[in-house]
Symmetry: C2
Subunit: 344 residues, 2 copies
Amino acid sequence: MTDPTLRVRDLDETELLARIFPLLPTGEGVDVGPGDDAAVVRADDGRFVVTTDVLVEGRHFRRAWSSGYDVGHRAAVQNLADVAAMGARPTSMVVSLVMPADLPVAWVTDFARGLADASGPATVVGGDLSGGDAVVVSVTVHGDLDGRAPVLRSGARPGDVVAHAGTLGASAAGFDLLSSGAGSPADGAPGVSNPRSPYVTAFLRPETPLAAGPAAARAGATAMLDVSDGLLRDAGRLARASGVDVDLAEGVLMRDVTALVPAAVDVAVATDDADGAHRARTWVLSGGEDHGLLATFPPEVAEKGLPAGFRPIGDVRDAGEAGPRVLLDGEPPHEATGWDHFRP
Amino acid sequence: MTDPTLRVRDLDETELLARIFPLLPTGEGVDVGPGDDAAVVRADDGRFVVTTDVLVEGRHFRRAWSSGYDVGHRAAVQNLADVAAMGARPTSMVVSLVMPADLPVAWVTDFARGLADASGPATVVGGDLSGGDAVVVSVTVHGDLDGRAPVLRSGARPGDVVAHAGTLGASAAGFDLLSSGAGSPADGAPGVSNPRSPYVTAFLRPETPLAAGPAAARAGATAMLDVSDGLLRDAGRLARASGVDVDLAEGVLMRDVTALVPAAVDVAVATDDADGAHRARTWVLSGGEDHGLLATFPPEVAEKGLPAGFRPIGDVRDAGEAGPRVLLDGEPPHEATGWDHFRP
């Protein structure tokens, strides 16, 4: 257990790294790890997949809500989801961490544990530490396609089945539970009287169905993306990139809505807002940061059975006169099609 | 020319990206560029080299001194130097930029131009933009070894020749010129009465001898690193990693010191400090952020002629009883062996 009074300013970089490195995952496929000018990672496929994302304190997370573990977990997952959405297997990552001098060292080691627990087979091969006035985390994740073509957003064809793996709306429910005071960020540790709601956990530590990405690619998915900005908005992106209409089945999605109604009622009570069911519908259709995978499959694949984790939620159709877009049971949705966490 | 009153908050992310993308380098070797969940980069070698670095406003740069162009240039170079120091050829990079809402859009496009001009053959394949209270730049650069073994810090052997490519002390001289007021950050544009000193430029826009890294690897370099924290400190790192003594020839280095004496006198006059020559010596031996390459070569390679850009500055010897370390003409140097820009 790290002394809770120990701050980042009390250690030099070498001492801090000595506390972080033992917590980070090591794995196969790394010829040169941290410690030299750069790392050397094997890419047997002859290509590598790469994506990067930044998390800024006060914009993407609040330290009052998110533990170091939460932030490390989330920083890994949001990048891992992008790699999986190409149909690739994550292999390695580099991590930069900007920290205020008074940040507890325990927060940093907690961050490393969250990152390690979420990163699955991906090894941390390098990084950078710096001082700064707010915590900023930048993660770059690499993946290997194992000889397969990458699954882009642009390959959906009319007749394909639209399928989703992961959760829809859970993260947005957690955000609203926290914002309204109906949920607590407290960990459900023994002795904590108000354990964390699973939706709060979904918001603070989103999970992505990592194995479903390569599985979709192997099964012949024609298009795929990470649902990070809400189902309608991201389905609209896939529709426009592919030049098709994506028609979602409202009846299927209403089952997700129903499951979230109790949480919506909790928020409605806490905020004196009677329209709880409407909120649950907005979470499912427009809530961001669930990091599920939205993919399209040829009908013959769907007939044989979708890969594990995927369920059908709609169909791909020829784009109508209005141009490529997302539809709900054949009609343009009334909902806003976006979600901008903390952004003005 | 971007309207100088236009701020980041006046544009949405799509509009800002539309101004940045045309400025960024495109190149060979990229199967999928920006726009999907992740990029796909070719790695014909079957491995890739990767390194990351973060620049934080107020820690690593000040906007009063550094233009957007300077910061973009420097963010690229400090990572490219690490790739070159492995003997690799830079291929691609991802870039994250955190920006205050009142940052001029012209600063951001200037940043993109500086990044592009410095990045040589490396293509920008992805990135992330976010709001924040200070500018934070995180760059991850990838390189290809073209079938060669990476050149580590740990391969130097007794009898090897120590060689350096690039400048020594110029960046530290520029920092002291700016700090003392003897130098100006103003660009040497027409009509600017006080043009930027070349040392100020070396600090704000360091150059790394990119081609010298792969050339050293091809020539048979046994060890190599990027000199980012000062010659003595980085030579000491190479010495310890290789388990040898690195003995630098003071007479050779004193020629670098002599060249910097006029700048040291300017600083001495501005600060009422008589000891100008001593300051020039400190710049050469301990000044950071020049991003030259320090390498060791077998004696037979040195006899045939070092690769272009390298000059001999010392020899590798068996480690003495004091353990592996850096020496100056066979003696431990009196100088401090580090350089921590802006760090307390």
